[in-house]
Amino acid sequence: MSLVSLNEAEKVYIIHGVEENFRCDGRSRQDYRPLELEMDIVSNANGSARLRLANSDILVCVKVEIDTPLPEAPKDGKIEYFVDCSANATPAFEGRGGEHLAAELSRFLCLAHGPVFNLSKLCIVPGQSCWKLFVDVLILECGGNLFDAVSLAAKAALCNTSLPNIVGTYEDGQNIDLQISDDPFDTKPLEASDLPVLVSLCKIGNSYVADPTIEEEICGAGCIVVSVTPKGNVTAVLKKGAGSFMPDTLNEIIMSGSHIGILLNKALNETLIQDMSSNVCKQQYGFLK
């Protein structure tokens, strides 16, 4: 994935910087780079969000369709995550290059959201029909710390999603006819504010940093991704890279990951509220920078 290579001296410079709590771009160990969020930018989707984190650019769209529920869970809806590593992002994703990363990302998103997302909200008629959410994540540009950026964008898009209202159901023998409101504004929002976000903490030298850049990811001995709900609960943990950790370090990383995750969730929530309140005369920017 990385087109960046570093030599020993540059790595040493970065590692010393992390130890002094002053990183190459002037941030402290726990700082995030400025994030930029734009909501509702794809008109064909039921919910969408685009997030920029330095050079990483993520577009997430949520589409809603009607499906029949699984026999073992007749009262639950369905949700599926797809991650597409577009070859636009980096030449390394060309062909099948991005597949591995995409599979890992979508699987982990699914694992992280699973314990919290209540699928019974997506039920229409138990055992007969339910909503199915397709969460499509498109990586437009890749600039380090993909996991955090993707999870923030996915949460924002799900918060932005609204389901059309069902006006009535008519039973016709075995079949069920659903009458769906044709007014595009007659919708009910999907409650998604308690979903977790992912926090990557990269171990560099004897300490660890949040929001690692590509260069820092190369220097790092390993990376722990913690999925944190707004209340600070942990829903999934993943280790990236070939490093190993001391038990105490691991505990410390997970603790501070949860601490950062609470703040990250809070920041996202505030931004979403701000977006809702300014909904009246919002100007679309899309991809014009």
């Binding site: 890992e104 699928l119 829903t235 950790f245």
Partner: protein, 279 residues
């Protein structure tokens, strides 16, 4: 395991009948849950007891190293093949690569699994690779790749932990240089109960969706005892952060016990090998 598109996979759109026995399954889970609250597990074990292990190395004669592991009803085979040069490799890699394959046999689970790899198998395969990478002296295999295959014959919970332990044994059996012996254990968390080495049913119970803020989920930890390093940590579910130190402590303690078992098995193998030679 190669996939064969010509093999008959049964008609499309069939559904295992067990899926319709929702009530029975739910009742069963509820039963387990209520007895757990009384600190009784369905198989009569103590809440903090590991299932009995059966370990045998060198069962695949064609492979360089192999191990068969039985942990309760969880049964799996792991085989390790000779390091080979990476084919079609352009760049020179300073450290060797691990190629892992994690496969559930089609009949290993309650639901029939397909021949093609699904996302769960891919994820387990990644986790297995990440757990083993730090333990192998990869610097000695510059530009080489080592193939590690795991085949699950019967899945009764804690497969990943069992697979990592078995892979560690198979690597040892295959004389691949390693920094330390690697073992893994998993925990199931249900409310305030911490279940060591959960069975399949207990895992299902632990990973059910939660409505209130109760702790639930599974934790898996792979550990190198002598170096005191955690090589892989995987968690899923919803848990209070402040509980993590306790989980990690319990898991490392169990891994230390497991470590003794594993090395005694390995030692016995070596002694047997020499005894056979002398005869």
């Amino acid at each position: 395991m190669p996939t064969n598109v010509y093999r008959v996979q049964g008609p499309e759109g069939t559904v295992p009948y067990q899926q319709y026995l929702i009530e029975r399954n739910n009742n069963k889970l509820e039963e387990i849950a209520t007895s757990l609250m009384k600190d009784v597990r369905c198989d009569g074990r103590d809440i903090s007891a590991h299932r009995n292990l059966c370990i045998k190395t060198g069962i695949v004669t064609q492979a360089k190293g192999s191990a068969y592991l039985e942990c309760g009803s969880t049964k799996l085979i792991c085989s390790v093949f000779d390091p080979k040069e990476v084919p079609n490799k352009v760049e020179y890699a300073k450290t060797g690569e691990l190629q892992c394959e994690f496969k559930f046999a089609t009949f290993s689970c309650r639901q029939r699994r397909t021949y093609t790899r699904d996302s769960e198998e891919r994820q387990l395969c990644n986790e297995l690779r990440r757990a083993l990478e730090p333990a192998i002296c990869r610097g000695e295999f510059a530009n080489f790749e080592i193939h590690i295959n795991v085949l699950v014959l019967e899945n009764d919970g804690s497969v990943l932990a069992a697979a990592i332990t078995a892979a560690g044994l198979a690597l040892m059996d295959g004389c691949i240089p390693m920094y330390d012996v690697i073992v893994a254990t998993s925990l199931g968390i249900y409310k305030n109960k911490i279940l060591v080495d959960p069975t399949y049913d207990e895992e299902t119970l632990c990973s059910s969706t939660i409505d209130n803020g109760e702790n639930r989920g599974t934790v898996m930890l792979a550990y190198m005892k002598n170096l005191q390093q955690i090589t892989e940590f995987a968690q899923n579910g919803s848990m209070d952060v402040n509980m993590f130190p306790e989980y990690v402590q319990i898991l490392t303690n169990h891994n230390c016990k497991l470590y003794k078992l594993v090395i005694s098995a390995a030692r016995k193998d070596v002694i047997e090998h020499f005894e056979n030679e002398n005869e």
